[in-house]
Amino acid sequence: MVAEYRMRMGDGTRRWMTKEQIRADVEDGVNNAVDCAEVPALTEDDICRIVDIMCEKGRTVSVEPGEEVILTQDGGELKLLNDSGSSSPVLEMSRTAAIQVHERALGMDTFEVAYFDPSTKMVKPVIGMEMAHCQNVMYNTIIPMLYMFMPNIGLYYQPTGPFGNPPDLMREFKIDEAMEAGENAMNMMRDDIVFIGERILSTGMDGLDFDTTASGGDLDFVGSLEAVEQIRKNYPDADIQMGMSAESVLGISGMCEYKGQLAAGLYPHQQVKLAEAAGVSTFGPVVNTNSSMSTAWNVARAVTMVKECSKQSTIPLQVNMGMGVGGTPMFETPPIDAITRADKCMIEIAHVDGL
């Protein structure tokens, strides 16, 4: 009887697979990454290593002592307190206490503090309160604290914002209007990011974290990069982290450029170069999990893309390993066997600097 190993699917469900099936999925995941992102394939050693990690018998796996990396949590206190896009435990505690729990009980190395609705457009009206909260946090914690918010250009389109929605306008073949709306929204979003960023940094906060950058495509990405560049002028020493939202930048405009480089269609190893040029300190690449494929497939695919990103990058990488990204299953409470295997592969093979 052929030995079978416990595997997870991208939606978290359990499945039993033979070593040969796992190997086949790993190779397929690698090939898919090569095809999509046009990156080099993993070496035979890398592939064998992933298969070995997936086939380890233990419930959890870990890196060897001495190989640990920086762990951070984007979305901050929201993960304990309230709904932040996924249902939360809704624990009754203050924001500062929730942050201290992460620092003292959950082993975070750095952390990102966030407002309950952390999109740029929603944070701007409450900036005074957020500045006061940041001051409080900085006096009462030790680990580096960044202030997280999401560029989220989508909220600048109607009905929540003043400008027409480019995809909707394009569907009506109003291409010029769509382009103008997109550019106006990008400019307003960029200015708001600078407004928030500079005020937060003035409180003595260690830095900023842009989460789910490029969720609105190339306009969102370029607007965020321009904002980073502007903030850097007044705060050259600020720690600025940029985390992406998807593995490739959607071409909503298709013509939007940053420093002469077209932003649309870029994959992690290309995105990081623009982030470096803008002055970002740490970059968080994303590779999307396919919920219909196995963890072996998803991890292999993610590691292939991130390995090239790590090779190309001159700044540290903190790869996104939350729900549905980085090979982690798309499930609110991802299974620990899948998480730890994804972590180990990402650190040992893709050589990331943090998670």
Partner: protein, 211 residues
Amino acid sequence: MDANEQMLYDAMISCKVPTVMDAVNKALDAGMSPVAIIDAMSAGMSQVGILFERGKLFLPHVLSAAAAMNKSMETLNPLLTKDAADDGQKIAVVMGTVEGDVHDIGKSITSTMLQCAGYEIHDLGRDVPLKNFVEECKNGCTMCGMSALMTTTMTGMKTVIDMLEAEGIRDKTTVLVGGAPVTQGYCDKIGADIYGESASETAAKVKAIAS
């Protein structure tokens, strides 16, 4: 794919209206049937959607390809037999992001791809009251597409399905679901018909079920 089909397919991927029109005329001159021409162009359009998601083409390209397809239909429609023309009657699809959720980019792209594939789209936008989906289905939409980006809002999808049941129109409506936290398992759990990992996958599954 024969040479003419390949020519039409490649022309669609070029996303250039003159190139597509040229290919259509050549295909007609070569004796290809209008239905076969439309099928070859549809295959090209599907690939355009996939290339967009992979970052090889961008949204204006997608719309340009759609414009090319629309322009071709001006030439092809008069040539279709009555039966084929009736078969080409557009299926109406209501699309929207469920109530409480304001994320819509994936939904908008799926709407675009379905529109390019020849469906009549009633896009209600985002934060759509659940009853509005049902109203559109009562008023002629035979497909209902719902998107959610949050685990707290995706539960609205089940509510819409229950409402369709209560109205007695569930069996006449194909329900599509999608969005980051949605999975095939969730689709099966709530009794939806189609789940797409991506916009192009959703469009492909819709076309497969409709054909």
